[in-house]
Amino acid sequence: MASEDLENITSVLSGDAEAYAALVNRHSKKIFGLCYFLLNNKTEAEEVVQETFIKAYFSLASYRGDSSFRSWLSRIASHACYDLLRSAKKHPQTSWDDFIASKQNELGVSEEKLPFTKQLENTDLVREILNHLSLEHRHILTLRELQDFSYEEIAKTLECSIDAVKARLQRARHELELLARDFKKESL
């Protein structure tokens, strides 16, 4: 993929603007996924994806190739998402405790007795857990668990060291596990 990306980038830089469509086709779904999990809103995510690809097109000459194209794009998209969240001053709509309570009402008693893994399968619980994580933790988990980024790619995207990636990933996974543990305890 990296060589195909480089090939397309070279074509775009030498004047073939249409070669950029191949890059958009290849990466738009993943970038959309990242924006969607960060913003938790489809329309806003699409707007950020568009903004990201347009910005990337006009700054393509500054792409040095020292990171993969997808980490470069993810970095642009992440910044755009953070800007949007900052300007909108968005916060999770419900607290974790309220969510647990509402989920218990929503689920029937019979479903509550299901094993934890079965609940994960039957409900949208995982997504809800993800949405209730802090933005920083949701960001790194989306990159790692959903988009299969390596430590190095995450470091390039988040502009930090590999040690910082490891530390942040540990904390994020711990928070995820704590929320899952909380839900499991409540539903027993």
Binding site: V24, F32, F53, E121, E145
Partner: protein
């Protein structure tokens, strides 16, 4: 921070291929003897499994087409503004050239009305006799007649 607390955080990296063999061995040894860490790891693994299985949302169709259209439009606007800038520059150049032409024309016309030729200079010189030069008063007192008043 005791060993359990340190390990409690590290265990979540256990399945990552980037972890060194020594680190993995350390975690494995700890998890074998610590049921709390073992349970936490199992719980994380089940959530992580479903997280990986979770379907990524699909963007609406024709997203690429929309993006490419926006890029084309922006490029067109960019080239248009460059063209407009060039046009403005061209207009300025034409204006400057016209001004220069008019100034030169005016200078030429005024020269034709009052030609400073050598003949005129000679006539002017002949009208002033050499004796007249003696009459030129250099005295300051006479040169400023208002002082006589």
């Amino acid at each position: 921070m005791n060993k359990h607390e340190t390990m409690m955080e590290k265990i979540f990296l256990f399945d990552d291929p980037e972890l060194s063999e020594a680190e993995r061995r350390d975690i494995a040894d700890h998890v074998k003897d610590c049921s709390a860490c073992d349970q936490a790891l199992q719980r994380f693994r089940s959530v992580s499994l479903y997280l990986k299985k979770m379907e990524e949302p699909e963007p609406r169709p024709f997203l690429t087409t929309t993006i490419m259209a926006s890029i084309r439009e922006k490029e067109f606007r960019k080239s248009l503004s460059l063209f407009q800038r060039m046009k403005r520059l061209q207009r300025f150049a034409y204006g400057s050239a016209l001004t220069l032409f008019l100034i030169s024309l005016a200078a030429l016309m005024s020269q034709q009305d009052n030609p400073i030729s050598t003949d005129n200079l000679l006539v002017a010189q002949s009208q002033t006799s050499p004796d007249d030069t003696d009459d030129i008063v250099l005295d300051d007192e006479l040169a400023f007649p208002w002082e006589e008043l």
